[in-house]
Symmetry: C2
Subunit: 493 residues, 2 copies
């Protein structure tokens, strides 16, 4: 503690003790000192007489003075410097508001080095920009009023229990509701206790990683894929093995060649709409992947992040629906269907693993957001969630078709792409010789943000591609964004 200009010691402390209140003597002494400091009769850095002297002056027992000093010290009014004495503090409680403008002292302990991949980055979408890049649903279509009304009803009805400690595996109503939905619509025969509710698919992957991976374990991922999932796997100590992706999804033959040389603990894969290319894994590869996983004892982490948005034919059933040997952990989310801010997702896993995930979850944050989980359970039971899904599918299909039409009309000289059978984005490859990074920068100056392929590649190299998300844009915004892209497009060579 630093002291300002040196002040002579106070030889006599003339305190006016408040006598009426029935407050213990030590507290009255402490309060009198505080009053005098506030009035300026005592000031910062001033030394107080010793406790014996004070006891004599005040006519109280020395223990009473010591108690008063302890109280004052613990509240920050005075401080004791060994062998020097007791001083009125430099930083008084009343001055703390001033201190808070400065904030806390800089960190005084050395931190371990931070993994490279946890680099500082933007967490919020800047406003006033059209985000061709944000892989989230249109916030204007989130059924706010329905959610708010249902939440209030659910909490009023069951809040006393919902706001207590509950099961870290999730609210029983939502576990049962999702189990039924996944069984009947997606062919995943989960029992309620095999559904572990998480805070979005990000926690699902982090939870799995912490539960099954030991430092140094190998985990296969897609060379084009979802970086936040890789970060969670790496944090748990996984050594990642990138496996190529083509028009049929993950190259299972390449995975098999890796497995001949290396033991792997898990493979993280997005079979339904490969992220970010949106291709669907072929049936032959699905079966080959399951068989490979069984033979090598590798857990398949199947991330089915936007199952609902499939536009051509029925959605393809997940790997988990054909898993007869307990090798799949099936991850899903409601971020894309409802809203990312709800933070609701799940892992469906064989009982032994589901129970382990539940125990791990208890250490992480004890339990999920049971009021919101109960709310969504209610929306499921009433069919509201399903109705909303169908509505969104129709809207997004129209937006996909408009985007495809605009791209063909304005950018066929620069981009080529397959029309995605599902998902909320188009994966467009740029024609040879186009500097896609420069293009994106020019587009941003025109008010449109696009992510180029390098954001999704394992090695960070630019494959010459853009991910164009159509879900967030209405017709006018789609048209405007494509026009800006066309305007920013470098001349074809």
């Amino acid at each position: 503690m630093k002291f300002g200009k040196t002040s002579g010691p106070v030889n006599t402390l003339k305190l006016q003790l408040d006598e009426s209140t029935g407050v213990p003597a030590f507290l009255r002494i402490a309060q009198a000192v505080m009053r005098d400091v506030r009035r300026g009769r005592l000031h910062a850095g001033q030394r107080l007489p010793g406790s014996r002297t004070l006891a004599d002056q005040l006519g109280v027992h020395r223990n009473t003075v010591l108690a008063a000093l302890t109280e004052l010290e613990s509240q920050g009014w005075i401080s004791t410097e060994q062998a020097r004495g007791t001083f009125i503090s430099e930083a008084l409680p009343e001055q703390l508001a001033e201190r808070s403008r400065r904030g806390l002292a800089p960190l005084g302990v050395r931190l371990t080095s931070e993994p490279d991949f946890l680099k500082p980055r933007e967490f919020e979408l800047p406003r006033d920009v059209l985000h061709f890049s944000a892989g989230t649903p249109d916030p204007r279509l989130v059924p706010i009023e329905l959610i708010a009304r249902t939440w209030r009803r659910v909490v009023r009805r069951g809040g006393h229990r919902l706001l207590e400690y509950g099961n870290p595996g999730g609210h029983p109503g939502l576990r049962a509701g999702l189990a039924e939905l996944l069984s009947t619509v997606r062919g995943v025969p989960a029992k309620a206790e095999q559904v572990v509710i998480t805070r979005g698919s990000q926690m699902a992957v982090d939870l799995l990683a912490r539960s099954i991976i030991e430092p140094g374990d190998g985990v296969a991922v897609e060379t084009l894929g979802y970086r936040p999932a890789w970060e969670a796997l790496r944090l748990a100590g996984a050594v990642l093995h990138p496996i190529p992706v083509d028009s049929e999804g993950l190259d299972v033959g390449a995975l098999e060649r890796v497995l001949k040389k290396t033991r792997l603990r898990a493979v993280y894969v997005t079979p339904h709409h490969q992220y970010p290319t949106t291709v669907t894994m072929s049936a032959a590869r699905r079966l080959a992947l399951l068989s490979l996983a069984r033979r090598h004892g590798v857990l398949v982490i199947e991330d089915d992040y936007d199952h609902e948005f499939h536009f051509e034919g029925r959605p393809v059933l997940p790997l988990a629906s054909a898993d007869e040997h307990g090798v799949v952990a099936y991850v899903g989310t409601l971020s894309k269907v409802l809203a990312p801010g709800l933070r609701l997702g799940w892992v469906v896993a064989p009982t032994e693993l589901a129970e382990r995930l539940t125990r791990m979850r208890a250490v992480m944050d004890r339990q999920g957001d049971h009021p919101m989980e109960a709310t969504v359970a209610e929306l499921l039971e009433e069919g509201e969630l399903q109705r909303h899904m169908r509505k969104m599918r129709t809207v997004y299909l129209k937006r996909r078709d408009l985007l495809v039409k605009r791209l063909r009309a304005q950018l066929s000289n620069a981009l080529h792409f397959d029309v995605p059978a599902g998902g909320i984005s188009v994966w467009a490859k740029t024609k040879k010789g186009i500097d896609v990074g420069g293009w994106a920068k020019r587009a941003l100056r025109l008010g449109v943000s696009v992510h180029t392929g390098s954001r999704y590649t394992f090695d960070g190299a630019e494959p010459g591609a853009m991910r164009l998300v159509f879900a967030r844009f209405n017709d006018a915004e789609l048209t405007r964004s494509v026009s800006a892209l066309a305007e920013a497009c470098p001349p074809s060579r």
Copy 2:
């Protein structure tokens, strides 16, 4: 895939293709097969003709047949066994509801061994028992209606933004509100960006552990303390060093002796109301601890889990309020003030650490529950939270006094304790020779659950103590619980 009784192959597939719809041929073929399976014209385990034969029979190109088979297979209607042919699946989509009664297959991959401390345990309070053991507020006093109403208002007003991706460090309104509260009421001069919102203090400790601890790092903890925090520290690889606790809190001299022999990364401590003994760390020890932390570069994780419930004098200011060298990470929670199910807590830390925590948080679950965070920010701003805190303090003080009175009247021959100056429980030591484990078991049979001291000791040994939580009981329940304890009490020797 298993097959039931062997069925002869179907030699000719007489499919009625739907011609009107403009659906591609391959899908119409697939749909016709599904229809025939549903009608029982094709049945489980039956083999289909080869693709060439089928193409001839249906008068389509073989590729069309292959596409149809792929569709059928990916949806689980047929399956292909190498060298044997293609069969109608045993498990049809329509039969999945039946499968879901059995659940998923047992886990087919081997899991790594699980840390001992993550043992299976009860996560929910059994009903029909009086919980003298549960360290949570009285659920009947949670202001459900106020929370529900405010949540709805906040979400209706700002939901489009609240339900989007936001800052993983927390909702800006709550960060600012807590920074102000902590500055003015607790003397912790935090700026808003130094407050990281977490899901309760459990996530706060887990987040800190993952962010600062490397495997093998030493961390000091209290010999009597909070096991879930130890679990989080251990999961991050910490080697824990238990430090004795006495009537002045953590024995800082003992910590200093450990530091002479061992490097430590952090010390986890509960200075305000030591958990579970409720003693307040003395002023001298507070200053000694801060000085020790600075000299040895050790981070003090200060868990101030029930700051508000201080009954004698003003609450003692946190260590963090006197931290001039940036060695304290200050952890708090709203679980005790509002409700544990809200899962709201925080870490206040110097900027460099707060930013690292935010990046780590993004990997864990991307962000917190912003609708609830905004709700509590509103309750803070309107003074509702502060009003509720004061109300609870009055209620709990009365309950403390009643518990003390009943214990003195009925159990002074078996228990001795200090009246706690704060907290929501009494730490009662049993007189010598009393088998406290047996006592707790008999009490449970009388409908009252108590936790004995062994739940809180580092080595799991029984120190001869009980933690009696008074917060959850109204007068009648307190009286009944103490009577049951007295009835279950073993005769004094």
